[in-house]
Amino acid sequence: MSGTLDLTPAPAAAPLRAMVAAQASFELRTLLRNGEQLLLTMVIPVLLLVLFSTTGLLDLGPGERVDFLTPGVLALAVMSTAFTGQAIATGFERRYGALKRLGATPLPRGGLIAAKTLAVLAVELMQTALICAVALALGWSPHGGIGGALSAVALVLAGTAAFSGFGLLMAGTLRAEATLAAANLVYLLLLALGGVVFPLDRFPAGMAAALELLPIAALSDGLRQVLQQGVALPAGALATLLAWAVVGPVLAALFFKWE
């Protein structure tokens, strides 16, 4: 087919929505193709849910074990995608010069961030469907009805904004290898200390009070209040998350280096 290309200049940007949709679909395909990412975002949360629901390895307090665990594992899933996965993927895009190259295309930076966010939300939707299906199979009985579901969505969106901000802050300031190591380390620490599967009330009181302010703890606790205890709107947890959701993206916007 050589020679049939019409190289005559015909420059024009595509509509912004089309650009963002193309970039979001590219990002989503990249995320779903990456084995390590799937381990982090899908396999580990489901394994924790199944392991601790079906065994007595942890003392999770009164009530059904799966009712305590499911909200925490949902929070972990959000963190793994919005923070850990996004930090690592973006860190390497920056290292490869892909962010620099995209900077010379008609896709504006805001469009790139929007596309990344859409891809993260799409993965979170898949995670939520998978985790809820497994949890229901294990006998999970969520509370709250429609109002509870809306509260849960609000918590997840605030958490996603907060975690994305810090993930991008890390990706945009550290070397890619350092981001890889640090993002995994933070994931492990927050998994252990953030009330995901280990109840915070087992920690010393002063420490627990501090840990409750972590975004992962606020998300776990907020989802638990709604889905396990039937609270309509966990105002304290949501307020904490919204504060993080402002701090993270602002810091990322201030310090992110594109190359």
């Binding site: 290309l5 990249t30 193709r33 490869y96 620099k100 190359e259």
Partner: protein, 308 residues
């Protein structure tokens, strides 16, 4: 489109410093619309910094920059759809497949080239599903080139597009670049291959240590001056030959057995040399009359010592 008479790229007294290092030290440049302009220079001459200022990646410390009549930083949004960029290296995620990446870049443009046809034109059709990191170096370069032109830009910046390419890939690249020019696009290309600049460029700008040291068409730069070269047995008596030649001629033997005569190389001079050889029983080989090459000019201007 660009109003007639306006340059595709216009730089005036451009200066860019990195700390104590002055990478670009007062470059002036006018790249004609619809032409291929080559920035030629040794490593570290400031070529990439200059081109990245034009692309809007960095701000000049002083001087003016107009790209398609626009300021590349302030008017970035207006400019980006109209330019195509090939970075010197990288720019593509390792896990992205060749066809997928090209389709992505194409989807940012309203009237792009057909990505599949472009891959085919650059000999990458069989690699459409191969992740970028598994492509050979030359294939990666060609994909990068494809991404620079897929949006049908008016102006294309290519930073060392043929570095590390085999001869076939180099020719495919040259063909695409001249095709773009012939279709009306402007091309700015950096290179340190003299033959490439000589063959491709309508205008050559030779840059060294952040300054322009020469500019012109390849023919202007190499000049009208001709040289006569031949090989023969070493140690010919050149003084005697020189006495027979028109005044102002120069004769050199370097290395041994390779002779070079510079001056007003006319048919009479050729006849004088061959007659002199005949009368001295000298058999010549490889006798030829040639122009100076761009490489001669380049080395004359930038020196022969190695640069770090």
């Amino acid at each position: 489109m660009v109003p007639p008479g306006e340059c595709a790229v216009e730089l005036e007294a451009l200066v860019k410093r990195y700390g104590s290092i002055t990478a670009v030290d007062g470059i002036d440049l006018r790249a004609e619309h619809g032409a291929i302009t080559a920035l030629l220079g040794p490593n570290g001459a400031g070529k990439t910094t200059t081109i990245e200022i034009c692309e809007g990646y960095r701000r000049a410390d002083s001087g003016t920059v107009r790209v398609l009549g626009l300021d590349p930083v302030r008017d970035a949004r207006e400019l980006r759809p109209r330019i195509g960029v090939m970075l010197q290296s990288g720019g593509i995620p390792g896990t992205a497949r060749a066809g997928e990446w090209l389709r992505l870049i194409a989807s940012f443009h309203a009237r792009p080239l057909d990505p599949a046809a472009l891959l085919d034109r650059l000999g990458l059709a069989a690699q459409a599903r191969t992740p970028f990191r598994r492509l050979s170096g030359g294939q990666q370069q060609r994909l990068s080139l494809a991404a620079a032109v897929v949006g049908r830009p008016e102006l294309v910046f290519l930073d060392e597009p043929t570095a590390g390419l085999d001869p076939q890939a180099r020719h495919a690249t040259w063909e695409l670049v001249t095709g773009l020019r012939d279709a009306g696009a402007s091309v700015i290309v950096t290179t340190h291959h003299m033959d490439e600049a000589e063959r491709l460029a309508d205008q050559v700008v030779i840059v060294d240590r952040g300054r322009v040291v020469a500019r012109g068409t390849p023919a202007e730069l190499t000049g009208a001056e001709r040289q006569l070269r031949f090989r023969a047995r070493p140690g010919l008596g050149l003084e005697e030959l020189l006495a027979a030649l028109p005044p102002g001629s120069v004769a050199k033997e370097s290395p041994a057995g390779h002779y070079l005569i510079e001056g007003d190389v006319q048919p009479e001079l050729l006849a004088t040399v061959t007659a002199w050889c005949a009368s001295h029983g000298v058999t010549t080989e490889d006798l030829r009359i040639e122009r100076r090459t761009l490489e001669d000019v380049f080395l004359e201007l930038t020196g022969r010592e190695l640069r770090s």
